[in-house]
Symmetry: C2
Subunit: 225 residues, 2 copies
DNA sequence: TACGCAAGCATTATCGATTTTTTTGGCATT
DNA sequence: AATGCCAAAAAAATCGATAATGCTTGCGTA
């Protein structure tokens, strides 16, 4: 009988798992903005050693989700209205840029990716799936994916995560006020696929600004810190 | 007699020192693009333990200077003409944006900072100081500093470092062909201080594009990897 | 009472050793 | 000659313990 190659204990490293777990905790607000991230506490919570934690925190620093203070440990990045507005403004600028480039390089393969990720998002939503948020992000990034500028894409992805954090902070109020977000998504997708740069960008930015304005309203009430 | 508080062994952490050292080695090209970064080797070279190295490398990952491959270690980010052109294009877009904002928020304090950092750069240059490169970066960032958008600033700073790496790769040929870079710097500074947005931005982008075109020429000859 | 100092405590940072995983090189088989 | 398999070596990842550092509290003094 064929000797089964020994299965690795896990297919990802402890650092990777810790990174994803911590990132999630911060983004969804389970770890509060400004909160001190004590190694010991996390070690217990995530069942792993100090090294993976430390490394994961270093990685999160680059994502602007964690602040590292030399000799004084780590803390979750603080939030503020100014920070939110900065993120919104940058997102509008950078995504506009990326979407224009993406459409300029338009190809059938890309159009298919966009349609596919949109479909998956819609499906996840109608099912009430856990991973709707992931699909939502995937859709938005798929739109930009074709821009042929990995660094720009990375910036957009980072900003997306920073932004979504505020969505969670604002609470579930958003779920009700569902506007016609689905329509907006469709509109963006269709314009993008049709190669209508101006329409696509205008709708995308509108989409962000509407959500943004709404969020600012909510954040005023809920205190951030 | 007043009891002297015990001096710390060093005023910065080993991680911080390692981070700066490694970053420098990569930017100036002492560590080649794509080169494997073995922990043991670096441990010996930098006289420190594995933990600080590992952490420093994680931090450099966020700067796009190091790639992390799960379970397979780290390597210096590879270079390519496409990558260089991407950096150049992004820099033009983002710095243009930042400079416009900076000028829009213009204040006396900021103008003084700009003048000061320019002076220091000129002085370092005339003296042939080691730290001319640092001063040069400081000057360019000072121009943008007033944009009131820390994240944008961070992006610009990152892109600056990525770009300068190519300058070093192209070799010292640049030192001779000194065009009239000093004039260009002055022009940018004066326009910025005078609040002439269009002139300042135009000159800044020209400055980058000229250097960029020149570099692309050199990079064609020298093989990058 | 307010201030400065110092000891004790909490936490971070670092090291050295161990465990896992990947890579390499040789050997047998087709 | 090429392929696949295994064992040995190299490297990365992780752990547990220790050293360094920052923070807090309580005491003595003015």
């Amino acid at each position: 009988m064929r000797q089964e190659t020994i299965q690795p204990v896990s297919d990802t490293s402890a650092t990777q798992r810790t990174y994803l777990a911590l990132r999630r905790l911060i983004v969804i607000g389970d770890i509060k903005p400004g909160e001190k991230l004590k190694i010991e506490g996390l070690r217990a919570k995530l069942h792993t050693g100090a090294s993976p934690i430390r490394e994961a925190l270093s990685l999160l620093t680059s994502d602007n989700l964690v602040e590292r203070i030399d000799q004084r440990g780590f803390r979750a990045a603080p939030t503020s209205q100014a920070n939110f507005e900065e993120i919104l403004a940058l997102r509008c600028e950078l995504e506009d840029m990326a979407l224009r480039m993406s459409i300029a390089n338009r190809s059938e393969a890309w159009e298919e990716d966009v349609v596919l990720s949109h479909h998956r998002m819609v499906r996840a939503k109608s099912r009430g799936d856990e991973d709707f948020e992931d699909m939502h992000k995937a859709f938005h990034l798929a739109l930009l994916e074709n821009c042929n500028s990995p660094i720009l894409l990375k910036f957009c992805s980072q900003l997306y995560d920073l932004n979504i954090r505020y969505r969670y902070l604002a609470g579930s109020a958003l779920n009700y006020k569902q506007r016609d977000v689905s329509k907006e998504h469709e509109g963006i997708m269709n314009a993008a696929i049709a190669g209508d740069v101006e329409a696509a960008c205008e709708q995308l930015l509108n989409h962000y600004r509407k959500t943004g304005a709404f969020l600012v309203g909510l954040l005023d009430e809920a205190d951030l810190a």
